[in-house]
Amino acid sequence: MPQVLHNLRETPSQTAGPYVHIGCTPNFTGIDIYGGDLGKCMKTGPVKGQEITIKGTVFDGTGTPLRDAMIEIWQADAEGLFNSPEETRGDADPNFTGWGRSPGDMETGEFIFETVKPGAVPFPDGRLQAPHITFWVVARGINIGLHTRLYFEDEADANAADPILTRIEHQNRIPTLLAKSEGSGTYRFDIHLQGAGETIFFDI
């Protein structure tokens, strides 16, 4: 018998369920204990870079909007720096948290993030990644949170060189990761959990 590896196992995931909002966005469901919902506001003062709005909806395999999802995003600031103690390359914009959380509209399911367009961030091998935003989707019926990425359709050159996008075998699925510009700094990013036009999800 060799020695035993004393590694622990990650705690198993379970669905967030239909009432995730009680714990994560209590004000949204009428419980005012904390004096505001975390992640609702990503800007705490004047921010650097281009301010943008991201709108979208999560759809199930029948094309029905999810009206009980919770969507979180995490991104770099306009200069490509993360507001995190793990960021060692410099100081991120102090007025930009980089993290947002939205329960979506209770009737339509549409989520909205008021944020900034992220700068480019290097891949582990040093190549630059195209500007992107990490999305994490949980909801009733989703047993483990789904990771995906938003890229910008108007960053065609950067997208064509992106280390992640270029390794995707099914290049015809890349448009599922591209946010569409609607003008005035607004982008639409719909997420399709299943079926035709299914969004690419990552095992990170």
Binding site: E10, T64, A76, I144, R167, E198
Partner: protein, 243 residues
């Protein structure tokens, strides 16, 4: 030669639940059909939001009182839930934000879309939060939630459970799960627990009664330890010290 944090160790998808689990009916149309695309973690997954202790109010981890009127408290069995957050290497994770939510003692959630005939408790909101200390410990006080019925099968009841949302240091560690209580006969019957693939996984989510932490004449205690994903330690022989 310098020791540097490497990327996150890949998630064990053979241990974690699959997306498509038909006995849990809602998963059928909310599960991707294409394979997940594997990628190494990058800075965007190795960093994540970190929340300071200053966001936590004095009552945030006391669900017995944080929604109650002055001098009142929630009805139900008083409990303490506590534990340690570690990574897969066994290292404590300090500064982890834990958010919890749950039904009241009668199995009723305080939510606009909840229609169960169980009564609301006017002194119970059902949410709390805490940040782990420098040794990875957290605790909160609450009342033991009741089981409740849900429209899945004709007679499905959730075990008593508390939902947990946890942030580690990197967004790759982001996790939502549920804690169950030792001895609950609903656990092996539940289609949501049933998405887990082994008794070992059931057990990992079942908190034992912890009499050593119970406060006599006040509250019983349950212990729920949490493990987040771990990182590689990588020697970078080709890089100077400090990079």
């Amino acid at each position: 030669m310098s020791l540097k944090q490497g990327g996150y160790i890949p998630r064990d998808r053979g241990w974690q639940p699959d997306a498509f689990t038909p006995p849990y009916k809602t998963s059928v149309k909310r599960s991707p059909q294409a394979a997940l695309l594997s990628m190494p973690t990058t800075l965007g997954e190795e960093t994540g939001p970190v929340f300071g202790h200053d966001i936590i109010g004095a009552m945030d981890n006391d669900l017995i009182h944080n929604f109650a009127a002055d001098g009142q408290s929630a009805i139900g069995p008083r409990i303490i839930v506590h534990g340690v957050v570690k990574d897969e290497s066994g290292r404590p994770v300090p500064g982890a934000l834990i958010e919890v939510w749950q039904a009241n003692a009668g199995g009723r959630y305080r939510h606009k879309k909840e229609g169960y005939l169980g009564a609301l408790d006017p002194n119970f909101g059902g949410c709390g939060r805490a940040i782990t200390d420098e040794t990875g410990h957290y605790e909160f006080r609450s009342i033991q939630p009741g089981p409740y019925p849900w429209p899945n099968g004709l007679n499905d009841w959730r075990p008593a459970h508390i939902h947990f949302s946890i942030f580690g240091l990197g967004f790759a560690q982001r996790l939502i799960t549920q804690m169950y209580f030792e001895g609950d006969p609903h656990i092996p019957l539940c289609p949501i627990v049933g998405v887990l693939k082994s008794q070992e996984a059931f057990d990992a989510l079942t908190a034992p009664l912890d009499m050593n932490r119970t406060v006599p004449m006040d509250a019983r205690a349950f212990k729920f330890d949490i493990t987040l994903r771990g990182r590689r330690q990588t020697y970078f022989e080709n890089r100077p010290e400090g990079l």
